[in-house]
Amino acid sequence: MTALERSSPPPGLPRRGAALGRVVPPVGVLLVAAAAGLLVGSLRSAVFAQLTVQGLALGAVYGSLALALVLVYRATGVINFAQGELAMATTYVAYQLIQWGLTYWQAFFATLAAAFVLGMVLEMALVRPVQHRSTIAAVIVTVGLFVLTDGVVTWIWGGAFKYMPSPFGTAIYHVGGVAIARLYLGMLAVVLVSVLLVWALFQFTKLGLGMRAAALRPAEAALVGVRVDWMLAIGWGLAAVLGAVAGLMAEPSQYVLEPTLMQPILVYAFAAAVLGGLESPAGAVVGGLALGVSLNLIVQYVPEVTSELQLPFAFAVLLAVLLLKPAGLFGRSAARRV
């Protein structure tokens, strides 16, 4: 994303925010077909249905982190390699708050507030100075942040496993012979509600409008009185909140809290974001869900692909998308001026 490209996109291109409205027919058909396939499979096999629900719940976590990456990328043109580690760190904050006597949901919302502030501070202190320098400089700063966050967490809390109370209990629902853990439904619900709230904020509030303007055309936005700096910082703050949601929902699915909690999830989130087109918020969420379900099903039904190959599989998806359809499912192909 060069400054030139940002200030003068080719005329006639639709608004970038309206990702869902621009789905080209083949992608829509593909998604409907996939959903139909999952439904048919679920009706025929209880195991398939259980794996699908679990995959959707995990996929929602990937999608949430992927959405955080996309928000940051759209706002500042930076891929935040530390996004997963920040999510992990905020999950430790929630753990600490619970240790201090807060209930799970009190800690949950307090953590989201803390994450928001953290994201804003990081943008202002670390990212702003390197944002316009080069891709490599920005990547390395976030890589440094990755190592730093990891270090701070292990320094404060140590590397041993921590256990948090389960937010949704251990109840299991039986729907027509299919056992569905309340945990997965809860994860799915929390993530989707968070994502919808963020979407509504962007779409229906003046703040959201300002943030979209600041990300899309910073110079023009500043001219009409948008505080671009603040908007970008708030964008980072919101991304950190979504990351915190991802971390808090990933923890119960792993059953333990450890410093490496989010590292594989970051790779899945990268793959999901790229699958969705890297610039498309809706694409990130759909990409996350698709990846979560397909990883879960493939490990079960393709004997060669064991759980060790999940990460390489995500890598293969990422590479295949970049090579075959770099714009992803929902992205627009980049028009570059020379």
Partner: protein
Amino acid sequence: MRERVVTLGSLLAVGAALAALPFALSDYNLGLAAQVGIFFVAVLGLNILTGYTGQISIGHGAFMAIGGYTTAILSRDHHTNLLLTMVAAFALCFLLGLLVGLPALRLSGVYLALATFAFAVSVPQLPLKWSRFLGGRDGVQTSQTVSHPWLYGVAWTASALLFLLAWLVLRGRVGRAFRAVRDSEIAAVASGIELPVYKTLAFGISAAYAGVAGSLFVLATNGYAQPSEFGVALSLQLLVGAAVAGLGSLWGTLAGAAFVGLLPNVSSSVPVIGSEHGQDVVFGAAVVLVMLLLPDGVAGALARLRRLA
């Protein structure tokens, strides 16, 4: 002319200092110095790709893993001479680097960063899957282990040879093509540079360097090649090393290698946070500070100092 004398002088100074070190250092510190030599090789290679050709890679830890496993497996199964295994690692990683360079042709900027990052995360999973040949979580051990002086000597000899090779490659036509690709791909193509050839070549060379570094890295850990040693942290360290080094300076590359090779060890003695866990805090903070304060790395800072003088 004066510049050439300075360059030659600094080369001789570094060489003399390196030759004298074994007599001055304890065995433990000699091991650390060897560690710096290993990172010197890897950072030098990554610099050819990232610094000269402008292609970012967060995946070079994976090539180190491949090089390291090459050494460990050849030594385990065939008792091959360790030096020969390094040559094998160089050749194998060169070929694999060319292969990885092919898809990388279509990627640039953040996309390349993402793809190479995923590559770095994926490769250490493979030994867990094919555990009979690649040893699983416990890894593969070489049939013989080496002493610190041996490692020091070999690491820095390899560094010197590969430094010479890099200089030969970069000073002429190929080096000019690399820099042209970095500065503007379109201008480079317009000047008749075959983009695919030079981009994959840069990938191959830098991967080969990482392979040799990986061989040495395995020998430095008592001959054990383990997946956990080649985690994504290693790839991140290499990129940090290349960034700290900056572009095209022997001193810069030495500084970058020392930064990633020594800082984690030195920082464990820092007060308050100086512990096993605290070293990442110091390292991460140092990385962020260096990037904010020295945008062109040590090499850039040196060049600016020289202009001032």
